[in-house]
């Protein structure tokens, strides 16, 4: 058998249940891989060696007693640093939260713990989940496991790199405009952003509350389904969590009868030739598997990025006003209250986050509200309607996940607009509130390229089924 850290969650589950391996062995394999590779990758901000091993031992005991807690019992996972775990540091990769200790478990963490998952550590990210490269971490960038000179994508770059490098069996990320799917694309993982409302946001540090969702980053589509099953559900602590029917995987052996739409508006200029070619090959493969490929019209799709870069900063400016050094985090004491705020937020919040706070404050300020926020929310309605009518004719919409392969560290960091264009294909699903997934087009050791699927509300099962069918045909 290969090293245990390279197992998928489903494989590990089968081996554990058969009594052929223990959770301690898998956890030790992950920790050993972290010790050997993470000094170079920097996927983790903190690793909880002793606690992880203790949890693994408890899982092994449960397995022996026949009192296993669920599919994730004894499975080592990594958690993005913006999801609260009681008693653990949680910083959102920001200096302003450097000393902060979480006071309670996020709902997703309660659910993972209730299933007996082993939490290995917290993963690096762009500060407060703002960025597409993980270079905006106040603790230094994460490197792409396929090429250390390139970014892993972002903002969930630590989680995506940790999964790709087999430092864990799976990970949680969060996605506001593509922060699960774009790093999954750059690292060759499966990345799933569930339907808005599918997973509770309670205990996720809010970035843009109307777009944020927590989701899995995994090695296979089947694993993403296992994690989503554990996370999904109505939560009375999150008013926007939906009372939808339970998530149930619906795997398929072929794609006969499925209609996949290619939105014309998305296939314009600006896509790297490599990416276009790889995604077109993947489309051919999906056709061979039985899917019907149809050109569809998706009006206003190319406006989603502009809508996002108005609404998101507005919500950011409101959500991040709580980080003022008064009740928690770092305070930079000055002679009076106003200067204390200025110094604390000026020195301890990074450049990109400050930029978005100011942009949002401007768009919401007197005289500009109608021109920016109201206008963007109206265009959002047009975009939602366009997605809804396109998805009446097809089951899913397909595009590349990102316009390029992983770019070089430093390449876009001083050009905010170029960095924002990274979200071009992913942001539509957040603006429309729909589920979306990135799966790797190829596994040939070259830089990964992701294929992006957007589905109907609460139909994550179809996205996962297509990705798994494709995986298994390779």
């Amino acid at each position: 058998m290969e090293s245990l850290n390279t197992l998928t969650i489903a494989q590990a589950r089968a081996e554990l249940d058969a009594g052929r391996i223990t959770s301690r062995q898998i956890t030790e394999a992950c920790l050993a891989e972290i010790a050997s590779r993470d000094p170079a990758l920097h996927a983790f901000l903190e690793v909880w060696n002793d606690e992880a091993l203790a949890e693994a031992d408890r899982a092994d005991e449960r397995l022996q007693n026949g009192s296993s807690l669920g599919v994730l019992d004894g499975i080592p996972l990594a958690i993005k640093d913006n999801i609260l775990i009681e008693g653990r540091h949680c910083s959102a990769a920001s200096k302003i939260l450097e000393p902060y200790i979480a006071v309670y478990d996020a709902t997703v963490i309660q659910k993972l713990k209730a299933q007996g998952a082993v939490l290995l550590g917290r993963t690096n990210m762009d500060e407060f989940a703002m960025g597409g490269s993980t270079e905006n971490s106040a603790y230094g960038p994460t490197r792409n496991p396929f090429d250390p000179d390139r970014v892993p994508g972002g903002s969930s770059g630590g989680s995506a790199a940790a999964v790709a490098a087999n430092l864990c069996l799976g990970a949680l990320g969060s996605d506001t405009g593509g922060s699960i799917r774009q790093p999954a694309s750059f690292c060759g993982d499966i990345g799933l952003k569930p339907t808005y409302g599918r997973v509770s946001r309670f205990g996720l540090m809010a970035m843009a509350s109307s777009f944020d969702q927590i989701g899995p980053i995994t090695k296979t589509a089947e694993d993403a389904g296992l994690i989503l099953s554990a996370l999904a559900g109505k939560d009375e602590n999150d008013q926007t969590s939906a009372d939808a029917s339970a998530f149930l995987p619906a795997w398929k052996t072929n794609l006969k009868g499925l209609r996949i739409g290619l939105p014309r508006q998305a296939w314009g200029e600006g896509i790297q030739e490599d990416v276009r070619a790889a995604v077109e090959l993947a489309i051919d493969a999906l056709r061979t598997l039985g899917a019907e490929i149809i050109d569809v019209d998706l009006p206003y799709a190319d406006e989603a990025l502009a809508v996002y870069y108005v609404v998101m900063p507005c919500e950011v400016s409101a959500n991040l006003s709580r980080f003022d050094g008064m009740r928690y985090g770092v305070r930079e004491p000055e002679n009076n209250l106003l200067d204390t705020y200025f110094q604390t937020r000026g020195l301890r919040i990074g450049r990109e986050v400050r930029r978005r706070i100011l942009l949002g404050t401007y768009a919401l300020s007197a005289g500009y509200y109608d021109a920016y926020y109201k206008k963007a929310k109206q265009v959002q309605t047009l975009i939602k309607n366009a997605y809804a009518s396109a998805l009446e004719h097809v089951d899913v919409l397909l595009t590349p996940t990102a316009p390029s392969v992983a770019f070089s560290i430093g390449e876009k960091i001083n050009d905010p607009l170029a960095m924002y264009l990274e979200d071009l294909f992913t942001v539509g699903a957040n603006v429309a509130g729909l589920p979306a997934l990135s799966f790797p087009a190829r596994h040939d050791g070259t830089l990964p390229i992701g294929v992006h699927l957007t589905g109907r509300p609460f139909d994550e099962a179809t996205l996962l089924a297509i990705a798994r069918c494709y995986e298994e045909s390779r």
Binding site: E86, P99, I101, V103, Y104, T195, G197, E236, Q239, T240, S241, A242, A244, E303, A306, Y309, V310, S317, S321, D324, G325, M326, R327, Y328, G329, V330, P333, E334, N336, L337, L338, T340, Y341, F342, Q343, R345, G346, L347, I349, R354, R355, I357, L358, T361, Y362, S365, A371, Y372, K374, K375, A376, K377, Q378, V379, T381, L382, K384, P416, Y420, P457
Partner: protein
Amino acid sequence: MSLTKEELQSIANLARIGLSEEEADRLRHELDGILGYVDRLQLIDTTGIPEASSIPVQADEFRVDEVNDCGDAARALIIDNFPASQSNMLKAPAVFEKPKS
């Protein structure tokens, strides 16, 4: 639309973010670029179009609004997180200052 120096300073004051001269100049340039991009929305006719709702249709219930005790462990963590404290009380700069005579 172009952001004046005064506008940027006023926004930074509202957002309680201290800016150096140099950063203010760079930010004006960067924000102009982003605002220039999002200005494309002005070309779209939205007459009679309602603003999008952010709440999923399946989520329209409120839970009971009641005070819960967080428990001693959580209380201790909250107090440990205070940037400054005195006898387990949060210490913060005064909102109103004594006039200096």
